[in-house]
């Protein structure tokens, strides 16, 4: 089912999404990948605040290529989510409601998704040029020194994603592979 959804994602919208839904996102999302997650994790260990209020927000695992003049961003496709698995459950428990990436997640992340009524979306890996066209603006809001790995606030319009893990813990990767496998 194709759907259009406004970001930040509401609790109701998150609970209404099912594994396999094709969704177009419009509104605000944040980027963070490996190094930013490590810093956020360390900040939490020191009892410090995160660089943005993650309650009800969605993180896109993405580090863009540099923007050419007059453009908001360069190529901007998803990176492999599993490298963030170590950090994701804690962020979900702190209120993160959505994640956009690609690739499988651990049992721990799935449990945290179920526990918090969250959702994991996949964007198409390797479609960075196409996806960059759906990003209207990009502003670096933290960890500027990390370059491509800095935390960015993005405004997106009709950003195409697919629900891979829904709030019930159903996993599109597992279900669809079974459907098409030939023994």
């Amino acid at each position: 089912m194709d759907r259009k959804i406004n970001m930040p994602l509401s609790k109701e919208d998150a609970l209404s999404l099912s594994c396999g839904d094709y969704v177009y996102l419009t509104g605000t999302i944040y980027t963070a990948r490996d190094a930013a997650h490590k810093r956020m994790y360390e900040a939490l260990r020191r009892g410090e605040e995160l660089p943005f209020d993650i309650k009800g927000q969605t993180i896109y695992y993405m580090g863009p290529s540099p923007a050419r003049e007059g453009r908001p961003i360069g190529s901007a496709g998803p990176t492999t989510a599993s490298r963030m698995d170590k950090y994701a459950p804690e962020l979900l428990d702190l209120g993160l409601i959505g994640m956009i990436g690609k690739g499988k997640r651990t049992r721990e992340v799935k449990d945290a998704i179920i526990r918090n009524g969250a959702v994991y979306f996949a964007a198409v890996g390797g479609a960075g040029a196409l996806l960059s066209k759906r990003i209207l603006s990009s502003e670096t809001i933290a960890y500027d020194d990390l370059g491509t790995e800095a935390v960015r606030k993005l405004e997106v319009k009709d950003f195409p994603v697919i629900v891979v893990i829904d709030h019930e813990g159903r996993d599109l990767y597992e279900e669809s592979q079974k459907q098409y496998r030939i023994e």
């Binding site: 690739g103 499988k104 198409v124 390797g126 479609a127 196409l130």
Partner: protein, 280 residues
């Protein structure tokens, strides 16, 4: 003795960096469009259509095909009668990568130390493989390698008794473990034989072969075809979202090995299997 200036090598690599990251080779474009036609999963078809559209946008608007513009892997095939003037060959190559990645708005994805992890800021150093060959030719191949797929690559030190079935199972295991992480449809490079590092370098080199071409060795060609068929039965599909088009090509290279060993390296590449070749 033929002279080649380090400057011309730098210029060539700067241009090649930009070219490889914006334009996919015709064989890869063809392989993607054939995959879209053959895919039976509706979602898989949609993913492949997005990837084809992505290639058009990348070329038309000069946006890198993928934001992971890779670590620069450079193969140098240098005739033994060539003399490089004006500085070291290694510096000339790195300078070319630096220039291309900076001027071409390509992502800087290299950290200077694997554990301290501070970005070098210019995507250098490159990983360089040198081959000294007879004659006075000089050929550069740049293959920017993204790490979504690189991370899913594997090496297996099999026992000789495991034979060809062992080799095939190793490849299938690597592909199954890679699944959606490696951005399928993939290209699978396999190196069989040699030593630990020889197998890995062959697997990387195998990725350079144009999609649709096969090994000249009959049994290897047969194995490539069988492996492609088996990989496309795993159900992983485009984007890992289910389907039959999991790999676009399986390319195998072989080399003599030790009586006690059967090394098998599997280098997985995503559909953005980039390379640019220049002869100076």
């Amino acid at each position: 003795m033929r002279e080649i200036s380090s400057e011309s090598i730098t210029e060539a690599l700067a241009e090649m960096s930009i070219e490889a990251n914006h334009y996919l080779s015709p064989d890869m474009e063809k392989a993607l469009s054939e995959a879209e036609a053959a895919e039976i999963s509706p979602l898989g078809k949609q993913v492949l259509a997005q990837l084809e559209e992505n290639l058009k946008i990348a070329a038309a608007d000069t946006i890198p095909i993928c934001q992971d513009t890779g670590m620069a892997v450079v193969f140098v095939e240098m005739g033994q009668e060539v003399h490089i003037t004006g500085g070291s060959l290694e510096d000339a190559i790195n300078e070319g990568v630096r220039k291309g990645y900076t001027e071409g708005f390509l992502r800087k994805s290299v950290v200077g130390d694997p554990l301290e992890r501070v970005n070098t800021g210019d995507n250098t150093p490159a990983v360089i493989h040198y081959d000294i060959v007879p004659g006075d030719g000089f050929k550069l191949t740049l293959a920017p390698k993204g790490f979504g797929s690189e991370n899913m690559s594997r090496i297996f030190m099999l026992k000789p008794a495991e034979g060809i079935e062992g080799v095939k199972n190793a490849v299938i295991t690597a592909v199954n473990d890679a699944g959606p992480n490696a951005c399928p449809p993939m290209v699978v490079g396999v190196g069989i034989g040699g030593t630990f590092e020889k197998a890995a370098i062959m697997a990387k080199k195998a990725l350079l072969r144009p999609a649709g071409e096969h090994s000249d060795i009959p049994y290897v060609k047969e194995m490539e075809e069988e492996l492609l068929e088996r990989i496309n039965k795993t159900g992983i599909g485009p984007g890992g979202l289910g389907g039959r088009m999991t790999a676009l090509a399986v390319n195998v290279l072989t080399y003599p090995t030790h009586i006690a060993g059967l090394p098998v390296a599997v280098n997985i590449c995503c559909h953005v299997n980039r390379h640019s070749v220049r002869t100076l």
